[in-house]
């Protein structure tokens, strides 16, 4: 597999084809090579280095190259106006918790428009063309640099410029760079000779292309990606519709207009001032500005050990490394806390939850890292206060954050208390290592199992420690396919199960052992947590049904079928009906839980079998009996109301517009078209499962038990319909038997069992005593 570096080298064989744009000719930009990093770049001015932060200092600090100084709000307004004036449509932001693509978080604006085909191919769908949006993004692969190099964030606003170019509509490279250059020069007033374009490439999932990063005085402000190839560099085709995917740093644009020592000062404004005041931080501002100018060379992705970097910076600033560390450390910690808390605010408001599972893991890492800093410096600072200050500052642009502030504060309080509780276990754990330093693997295990950070144990770790533990939790793992059956060359199976077909005829297309593929089928394959149908194909019993891409494979107990044969098929209707009811019930419970517990509740996993169903929801603590009662009560009210259950297919964009992102509460579905299951007036989810037509058909829903199965995850087990009734009748029968044996009725049973037990214990004690005496 070709690396990004190799792809750039491949493109460099013909730089004019991939990077040269009209503007470069018009303004006499020349292609040059950086004497420090070796990268190629285009600039008007004759210069040795490329303008990247690792090759030069942040010269704009204290001396911004722009016409005016703007805060984050004004900066966005100016950018937005420019693009709107140039015929772009402004899009509203998408949630930071990504539930429509196999990623836990929205890592870039373009992710919102990815569509994955059943064969794994990548496609794009834009609500308008061309567009501009400000997308808050979350990334957890750069945690050690946050706070340290003046520019890295876990949560940042991406200015997302997109254009789909099909030869007629939209625009391509020339226009994109012309617009970006005009934005820099005319709107921000940056001199053309200060702007360098560095040659780069983007090698993504199933698509790639060249790109031009634009840098000004040491800071990369944006990167225009020209996606024109589909597939991999080894096996690709040129796309008919080419994509402009320009992502620029909202905070960085603000920073360059203000020339503050760090990007954090420009991005967080009054929040940082309040934090500095609460922590009583005093420092030499002039010295810190000098440090900030050269801090761009820090990139802990390249240096696992910060010490040599610190020594080099100290040497440049003519102080000892110890002195430098003493000055910068508290500020770096403060910047990291400000960033991490803002990330938590957006994530929780969008349905994320710090936990030990999936994406929640990353949120817990940054929260605990922040709490560790507060501990280390003994600050009187509460994370929920910082969250509140962020919301106060951001609410005029993101009013949805204010609506969720109570939930955000509550979750942060619960998590902070949980962190404090782990402190008590720290001394016991320290003893188990008997004076030796735990290995990195042991520290990762401690964090995973107990949530204890190395800082809590007073242990210094390599700067990439948090990167190592979070990278494992960045991408949702795809379930491995159950069988290895070659289905290549077979046509897509015609699906009949959405039409409630039970009896049907089909042609046998392929037989391999006990596996059979038909031209059409009404057998539902196991998917979305719903178990497969059973029944008969001919006189062969169907024991499993699996979907491989768009082909449905039936596993038979024994197989006497031949390819080409026309065969009668029958689905087990009783089992089908029960599975449908359990699926309806899970949607109802999911909606009820969200209404009772809060909007942070999402489905993490679910299973619907003939016997029972379960849903694992994201929630920060075990359910109380009262909460359990309320959820069950509401769920049964919905059943009794007899709400219609509508099932229909919508274009993803249309579905999102109509119902919002709550449709992904049941998990991500990557396709371009979504099957929507709507319980009228109560719940709407994208779902490929089988459902009834009315909630009344469910009959009743009984919660069997709820259990906190992991940090941030609660399991609710239920039975629905006749299965629930059979269960309750069975319990009634057992109780009757108990009543008969104890000769009491109803609530008196509990007291009678207690008495029986006490009597038994007492007699046993007496007998023991008597035996001893003897």
């Amino acid at each position: 597999m070709m690396t990004k570096k190799e792809l750039i080298q491949e493109f460099q064989k013909n730089p004019d084809r991939y990077w040269k744009v009209k503007l470069f000719d018009e303004l006499n930009f020349k292609r040059r090579q950086c004497s420090k990093c070796g990268k190629y770049f285009w600039s008007i001015k004759e210069q040795e280095t490329c303008n990247d932060s690792t090759c030069r200092t942040y010269d704009f600090i204290g001396k911004p190259p722009t016409k005016k100084s703007w805060d984050i709000f004004k900066t966005w307004k100016k950018i937005q106006k420019f693009f709107v004036d140039n015929n772009h449509i402004t899009l509203n932001r998408y949630p930071t918790v990504c539930r429509w693509y196999p990623l836990y978080f929205t890592i870039a604006g373009i992710v919102n428009f990815y569509r994955v085909g059943e064969d794994g191919s990548l496609d794009w769908e834009f609500p308008a063309n061309p567009t501009i949006m400000l997308q808050p993004c979350l990334r957890f692969n750069d945690i050690p640099n946050v706070g340290l190099n003046s520019k890295s964030f876990t949560c940042f606003g991406m200015v997302q410029q997109t254009s789909l170019f099909d030869g007629k509509n939209g625009y391509w490279k020339d226009k994109c760079i012309e617009l970006d250059f005009e934005l820099l020069t005319k709107v921000f007033g940056i001199k053309p000779e200060e702007i360098n374009f560095i040659e780069d490439a983007w090698l993504g999932y199933a698509a790639f292309g060249s790109s031009l990063e634009y840098h000004v005085q040491g800071i990369e402000l944006g990167n225009a990606v020209f996606t024109e190839f589909l597939g991999t560099p080894e096996n690709y085709r040129e796309a008919k519709e080419k994509i402009i995917d320009m992502g620029a740093g909202w905070e960085r644009f603000t920073w360059i207009t203000q020339g503050t020592p760090t990007c954090y000062d420009a991005a967080f404004g009054p929040v940082l001032e309040k934090m500095k005041k609460a922590c009583e931080i005093k420092y030499d501002k002039k010295f810190f500005a000098q440090y900030s100018k050269i801090s761009g060379r820090i990139n802990l992705d390249e240096f696992a050990d910060f010490k040599p970097v610190l020594q080099s910076l100290a040497k440049t600033l003519k102080v000892s490394p110890e002195e430098l560390q003493k000055i910068i450390e508290p500020l770096q910690a403060l910047y990291a806390i400000a960033d991490h808390t803002r990330a938590l605010v957006f994530a929780i408001a969008d349905g994320g939850l710090p936990s030990n599972v999936a994406g929640g893991y990353n949120l817990r890492v940054i929260l605990r890292r922040s709490l560790s800093f507060i501990d280390k410096f003994g600050w009187n600072l509460k994370i929920e206060d910082v969250a509140h200050w962020h919301v106060e500052y951001l609410k005029k642009m993101f009013p949805e954050l204010e609506e969720k502030i109570e939930e955000i504060e509550k979750i942060l309080r619960v998590e902070t208390n949980r962190y404090k509780n782990t402190r008590e276990r720290v001394s016991r754990i320290v003893q188990t290592f008997a004076g030796r330093k735990p290995t990195e693997e042991e520290l990762i295990r401690l964090y995973d199992s107990e949530g204890i950070t190395p800082e809590q144990l007073g242990i210094e770790v390599s700067s990439d420690f948090y990167t190592k533990i979070t990278e494992r939790h960045m991408v949702e793992k795809k379930e491995s396919e159950k069988i290895a059956l070659d289905v290549s060359g077979l046509p897509k199976t015609k699906i009949l199960y959405y039409d409630d077909v039970i009896n049907f005829q089909a042609k046998v297309l392929k037989v391999s052992g006990n596996f059979v593929v038909l031209d059409q089928t009404a057998f539902y394959p196991t998917s979305g947590g719903q178990e497969h149908d059973t029944g008969y194909i001919g006189d062969n019993k169907v024991v499993d049904v699996i979907k491989i891409h768009s082909i449905i494979v039936h596993q038979l107990e024994e197989c006497n079928l031949k390819e080409g044969q026309i065969v009668d098929c029958k689905v087990d209707k009783k089992r089908r009906e029960i599975l449908k009811k359990h699926h309806d019930a899970i949607h109802i419970i999911s909606g009820a839980a969200r209404k009772i517990l809060g909007s942070h509740v999402h489905q993490y996993g679910a299973e619907k079998t003939e016997e029972k169903a379960r849903i694992d929801i994201t929630h920060f603590e075990a359910l109380s009996e009262d909460e359990e009662e309320k959820i069950e009560k509401l769920a049964n009210e919905i059943v009794q109301k007899g709400l219609r259950i509508n099932k229909f297919v919508l274009e993803r964009g249309e579905a999102e517009k109509k119902y919002g992102f709550g449709i992904y509460a049941g998990g991500y579905i990557p396709s371009r078209k979504l099957r929507i299951v709507e319980i009228e007036g109560f719940d709407v989810e994208a779902c490929g499962g089988l459902h009834g037509d009315n909630t009344k058909e469910v009959g009743l829903i009984k919660i069997l038990r709820t259990k906190r199965i992991a940090d941030g995850l609660v399991r609710i087990e239920i039975k629905a319909g006749e299965v629930a009734l059979e269960y309750l009748k069975e319990k009634e029968k057992i109780l009757e038997e108990v009543e008969k044996r104890l000769n009491v009725k109803g609530e008196k049973v509990v007291e009678a069992v207690k008495e029986l037990f006490e009597k038994w214990k007492k007699l046993r004690k007496q007998l023991k005593k008597m035996r001893k005496k003897k």
């Binding site: 209707k573 009906e577 049964n636 104890l742 609530e747 509990v750 029986l756």
Partner: protein, 68 residues
């Protein structure tokens, strides 16, 4: 298959219980659960365990009589 179809239809009728009946059944389930928790057994085993306790109580009482 004929039989299966009839079972489905019968169950469709059965499921329509009133709210009151449902609450009554839930109450009974709770009582059973609480009683089983006292003896730390699964509720389905409760009658058998109670029978065992009653039997053992009788046996112990007789043994104690013997000691007396």
């Amino acid at each position: 298959m004929e039989k299966t179809q009839k079972t489905v239809e019968k169950n469709e009728e059965e499921k329509m219980i009133s709210k009151k009946e449902f609450e009554e059944l839930k109450k009974k389930e709770k009582i059973l659960k609480k009683a089983a928790e006292i003896l730390r057994v699964e509720d389905k085993d409760l009658p058998r365990v109670i029978e065992r306790f009653q039997k053992e109580i009788k046996e112990m009482e007789e043994k104690l009589k013997g000691f007396a």
